[in-house]
């Protein structure tokens, strides 16, 4: 069984400190971390590999620094890792990113299962997982809470929905995206970390994966960000509601209804 886990190194948006004057998040010196949702994907890959003979490979598209996150994956048991890194990949939106990852998966060859985290905490789009499936024309299943059964030819998964869940059986190869309920990611051990530092991580470029240059980077991105601005400023005054409990409840309810919250 050959499993590929796609991971991304992202800024730790939750680590930010608040500037007391502007009340806005200060984004200097924010650390780069392995996307939290991807730790669940890595854990699932390692657990599935442990149940069967085979290997699990971590794959990432990013700048050279992303090797750190690939090493973290190795430190918890992934067999090997590959980094896709080149100027030409820069500026890719989710369409182009999923294309590049799909080409790399083809190049790795004979892959049975691709596991992605639900979404990346910087983009928050959750589009790359299904995008990879679409580029490969493989089956997909998203929001997976559990892998109930797996063989080299098929998989049974539990998919989360707003109104409950369903059990879905599909043949492999396929792409799944996983949610936090699926497992508890193990913490890298000191032994694992030290061992991961010795691993070679090859860096693949567009030619290595036979990428069509019109489908990568800015050229391969149908969406373009045209403007970035800070969110609307916070209010400066607080509206106070006082009085008897009934009065307060009614006034608060009025505010909630005004804003279509209730």
């Amino acid at each position: 069984m050959k499993i590929v886990v796609c991971i991304k190194q992202v800024p730790a948006t939750n680590d930010a400190k608040i500037d007391p004057k502007t009340k806005r998040i200060v984004r200097k010196g924010i650390k780069a971390i392995l996307n939290p949702f991807d730790t669940y994907a890595v854990e699932e890959g390692v657990q599935l590999r442990d149940k069967f003979e085979g290997e699990v490979i971590a794959l990432s598209m990013g700048p050279p620094k992303a090797k750190e996150s690939l090493r973290e994956a190795i430190s918890v048991g992934v067999n090997r890792a590959i980094l896709l890194s080149d100027r030409a990949f820069g500026g890719s939106d989710t369409w182009a990113t999923s294309y590049v990852l799909a080409k790399a998966i083809e190049k790795i060859g004979d892959v049975n299962l691709v596991i992605c985290g639900k979404q990346a905490i910087d983009g928050d789009t959750a589009q790359v997982g299904p995008g990879i499936a679409a580029h490969l024309d493989w089956l997909q299943a998203t929001y997976i809470m559990a892998v109930e059964e797996i063989s080299s030819s098929s998989i049974i998964v539990k998919r989360m929905h707003e109104d409950g869940y369903d059990i879905c059986k599909m043949s492999l190869p396929a792409v799944i995206t996983v949610v936090k309920d699926i497992n508890t990611p193990r913490i890298p051990s000191l032994k694992g970390r030290l061992a991961s530092r010795k691993c070679e991580i090859p860096v693949w470029k567009p030619d290595d994966i036979g990428a069509d240059t019109s489908k990568i980077g800015l050229d391969g991105s149908p969406t373009k960000v045209v403007k970035i601005q800070p969110p609307p400023p916070r209010h400066t005054s607080t509206k106070k509601i006082e009085g008897s409990s009934t009065e307060c409840a009614q006034a608060l309810l009025r505010e909630l209804r005004l804003r279509s919250i209730v």
């Binding site: 750190e68 913490i187 000191l190 030290l194």
Partner: protein, 265 residues
């Protein structure tokens, strides 16, 4: 623990390197050197457990991987509730096998990366979330007569709440107390000492000049430009709390370590 106080043995806080350290080999070396220095001085090393929720290596892994010598009375391991049941078991087994007896049991700081003990993991049926109380009970049950367990006391949190929690910690088997960092006389700590005269209390002395870091640690606003001399504060704490031990937070190993050997005499 009384032994440490009677023999004027400082507790020196040691933080294991963070997992994402960019200079891991160097950090491991620094930790080793500090640990050995503390052992040589006859002090007790207090090794933290993912302090501030920042993913770090475990004290027990550091000791094993770096083959550090364990002098049982001189090592205290902090243990939080942010572990899987398996990891918790491993840590306790390693402590037991190495003769490490002193454990500081705290609820601890979590983060998205850290797992958390579930009530069912520790056989607790009456709570929604595992705190130091449930962990204390669990350890006493699973490892009877093995460990000397201590707990934390936070004088900066609402008093009634904190004392009520302390009662429960005592009932669960805590036998010593370490306070949050103090920089002056603290009335709440005074009350604690009166309430538990038989329990060894260790006062945390903040050894860094950076008081704002203390604000973040205890969630209590210290005035920004307060002049602060850790060494004279330490001397003052000895005078104010002669019956207590001292735990040194953020001790400067280069500038302060050699100064402290003549203070507690």
């Amino acid at each position: 623990m009384i032994h440490h106080i009677q023999n004027k043995i400082y507790h020196v806080e040691l933080l294991p390197p963070k997992q994402d350290s960019e200079k891991l080999e160097k950090d491991l070396e620094i930790f080793s050197n500090r640990y050995l220095r503390v052992m040589d001085s006859g002090y007790c090393a207090g090794i933290t457990d993912n302090a501030m929720g920042l993913l770090s290596f475990q004290g027990t892994e550091m000791i094993e991987e770096l083959e550090l010598p364990v002098i049982p009375e001189q090592v205290m391991i902090h243990l939080t509730t942010f572990h899987t049941k398996d990891d918790l078991g491993n840590i306790l087994d390693i402590c037991k096998s190495k003769g490490i007896r002193h454990l500081l049991i705290i609820t601890g700081d979590g983060s998205e990366r850290l797992p958390k003990l579930q009530p069912s993991d520790v056989g607790a049926t009456d709570v929604e979330s595992v705190t130091s109380v449930e962990l204390l009970k669990y350890i006493n049950r699973e490892y009877p007569d093995t460990f000397v367990l201590g707990v934390a006391f936070n004088p900066y949190e609402p008093e009634e709440h904190e004392f009520e929690k302390m009662e429960r910690k005592m009932k669960a088997g805590a036998t010593f107390i370490i306070t949050q960092p103090l920089i002056e006389r603290n009335e709440v700590v005074d009350r604690l000492l009166k309430k538990y005269p038989e329990i060894p209390v260790i006062v945390d002395a903040w050894m860094s000049r950076k008081l704002h870091l203390l604000s973040e640690a205890v969630g209590y606003e210290m005035p920004e430009n307060t002049e602060f001399d850790p060494i004279s504060t330490l001397k003052m704490l000895h005078k104010l709390y002669p019956e207590c031990g001292i735990y040194l937070s953020l001790l400067g190993f280069k500038t302060q370590y050699d100064l402290i050997k003549d203070i507690w005499v």
